[in-house]
């Protein structure tokens, strides 16, 4: 790995509490088992695996949404952001698009109202939405537009690392392509690194540099995209590739 790392994860174990074990305590299940990887600057690392393999948990742990973990996570960038799968449910229905996109700026508290507004308008334009969307609410938008709003919200604090958790999976194929093009353009313009979580191998093939295959919380194989697609080593990877054809 010649590129400087932007994220390093070493020996990550993570747990998940669900259901009740004894009277008050919740059952603690291990989700991630000894996950280690490094993401380089400007790199797109795909994470594939079936549902329940721990992909989303990994994303949550990296961003600190889930805190129940052991191991080491080293961020070499500030303000990592995330784009979620379901663009409808992941936007607050009561807020206008303007308010949603502005929110991270409010949280980081760097700019005054006018500067924030200017940046929001710029950002919306950057993701292909005009100023007229400022006053719209999520339910008035199409799936693709909502996902553009999600992307704008993630990008507005100028992160270096963005986690895309099934960011295009809920969209139909033509919209998927548009959003992927947008993501690739934004990455080039801003020298971003993506952690691209997906169950769709075709999408991963289109946009990733390297791929990490996960199964029941463990990394079973990691290689370049070509390596994975041309010469899969692990039987699980082979199975996934077969299913994607």
């Amino acid at each position: 790995m010649t590129k400087a790392p932007i994220l390093e994860v070493r020996g990550l174990d993570s747990y998940y509490r669900q259901g009740t074990d004894t009277l008050w305590r919740k059952k603690r299940t291990q989700v991630l088992k000894k996950v280690s990887f490094t993401l380089g600057q400007g790199e797109v690392l795909g994470i594939v695996g079936e549902s329940g393999s721990g992909k989303s948990t990994l994303a949550k742990v990296i961003l600190g949404i889930s805190r129940d973990y052991e191991g080491e996570i080293v961020h070499h960038s500030m303000r990592p952001q995330m784009v979620f799968q379901d663009p409808y449910a992941s936007l607050n229905p009561a807020f206008t698009v303007g308010r949603i996109v502005e929110e991270p700026l409010i949280i980081y508290g760097k700019y005054d109202v006018h500067e924030r507004k200017r940046r929001v308008i710029d950002m919306l334009e950057d993701v292909g939405l005009g100023e007229e969307f400022l006053v719209c609410r999520p339910h008035e938008l199409s799936g693709g537009q909502r996902q553009r709003v999600s992307i704008a919200t993630a990008m507005i604090v100028r992160p270096k690392l963005v986690i895309l958790d099934e960011a295009v999976s809920a969209l139909d194929v033509t919209i998927q392509d548009q959003i992927l093009d947008l993501l690739v353009r934004l990455k080039k313009e801003n020298n971003l690194s993506y952690l691209f979580i997906s169950h769709d191998l075709n999408v991963v093939y289109q946009c990733c540099d390297r791929v990490m295959v996960m199964k029941s919380g463990e990394v079973v194989e990691e290689n370049t995209v070509d390596g994975i697609f041309d010469a899969p080593q692990h039987p699980y990877t082979k199975k996934l590739l077969l299913a994607a054809e």
């Binding site: 949404i65 979620f84 992941s90 607050n92 229905p93 009561a94 609410r137």
Partner: protein
């Protein structure tokens, strides 16, 4: 604006139907006003004559139109029992009831929202668990009993107010409010418990939603996500419930007025039903119905303001 106009139209229709029902109910109930007024000594001729005088022999539709017309112009008729204009009787009793119900609603809002937020924020904590049990208890105690308990504890034992010694608002506003506080709390208490429970579960439901996860990823803490994102959305069912409660409180207020000997609309209503004083009963029923319908109208408007998607539904 179109939404409000539509709701306003429904409101007027509802009130019209209620007025019709309130009027017809007394046409169906056996016994008529002329007989009651004359008592058992009236001869059939006297009854017939009085019925003619009171306009009771006219077709029902005309009687209704007449009644509604004068009602809208502020003339609510004359009480059979007291021979006094109904509007004067009501004007005298209304302020106490209005104060009671408004104070009850105010207590419900200012108590249940902060407590609901607190228990949701500290869900699973000691305070939350104690509140859950306490809520269950408070919910199941009827307002009458709470009223009697308050009279005993704060009236007789602690002497905060003198039970039964009602002070009118134009005599001494402070004493009036101190006196009214306890009956208002009596009717509000079970509703506070229910609202706390509803707000708590509504907030926790919202906190599990995906947009809250997004808020976390943008750098929100659990506390700020709860206050800035979840709270607003969780208020929609709470507002609707509070409107229902505000209507329920009027009903509870009728009983509580008896317990605390408050000369309000509720006591007048009960007395008038006992004496078949139809003009009074009709007027009060219509006033109470108006309150219920108006509160629900306001709740609809408020829900729509909180969550703009409501407009679509």
């Amino acid at each position: 604006m179109k939404y409000i106009a539509k709701k306003l139209f429904t409101l007027i229709i509802t009130l019209f139907i209620v007025s019709l029902l309130a009027f017809l109910a007394f046409q169906i109930i056996p016994g008529n006003a002329a007989v009651l007024r004359l008592g058992t000594n009236g001869t059939p001729q006297q009854v017939e004559q009085l019925k003619e005088e009171m306009g009771l022999n006219r077709p029902i539709a005309i009687q209704y139109g007449d009644w509604l017309g004068s009602f809208l112009s502020g003339d609510m008729g004359v009480s059979y029992t007291y021979n006094m204009p109904v509007e004067d009787m009501i004007a005298q009793k209304l302020p106490s009831t209005v104060a009671l119900v408004l104070l009850g609603c105010l207590l419900m809002v200012v108590l249940s929202i902060p407590i609901g937020i607190f228990t949701a924020r500290h869900a699973g904590g000691v305070v939350d668990r104690v509140m859950t049990v306490l809520n269950q208890v408070l919910m199941s105690i009827p307002p009458v009993f709470v009223g009697i308990l308050f009279s005993f504890v704060f009236g007789i034992t602690l002497r905060v107010f003198i039970p039964g010694d009602f002070v009118s608002w134009d005599e001494n506003i402070t004493q009036f409010l101190v006196f009214m506080f306890f009956p208002a709390l009596s009717i509000a208490l079970s509703r506070v418990a229910m609202t706390v429970k509803l707000l708590r579960s509504s907030l926790l439901d919202e906190m599990d939603k995906n947009y809250i996860r997004t808020a976390f990823s943008r750098g929100h803490s659990r506390d700020t996500a709860l206050r800035q994102h979840a709270l607003r959305n969780s208020l929609v069912p709470v507002v609707v419930f509070m409107a229902v409660s505000a209507a329920e409180m009027v009903a509870a207020g009728i009983i509580i007025e008896q317990v605390f000997a408050i000369p309000g609309i509720g006591r007048l209503l009960i007395a008038s039903i006992g004496t078949y004083d139809f003009p009074v009963v009709q007027a009060i029923v219509l006033i109470l119905a108006t309150w219920v319908v108006v509160v629900n109208f306001l709740a609809d408007i408020l829900s729509q303001y909180i969550d703009p998607r409501v407009r679509l539904g």
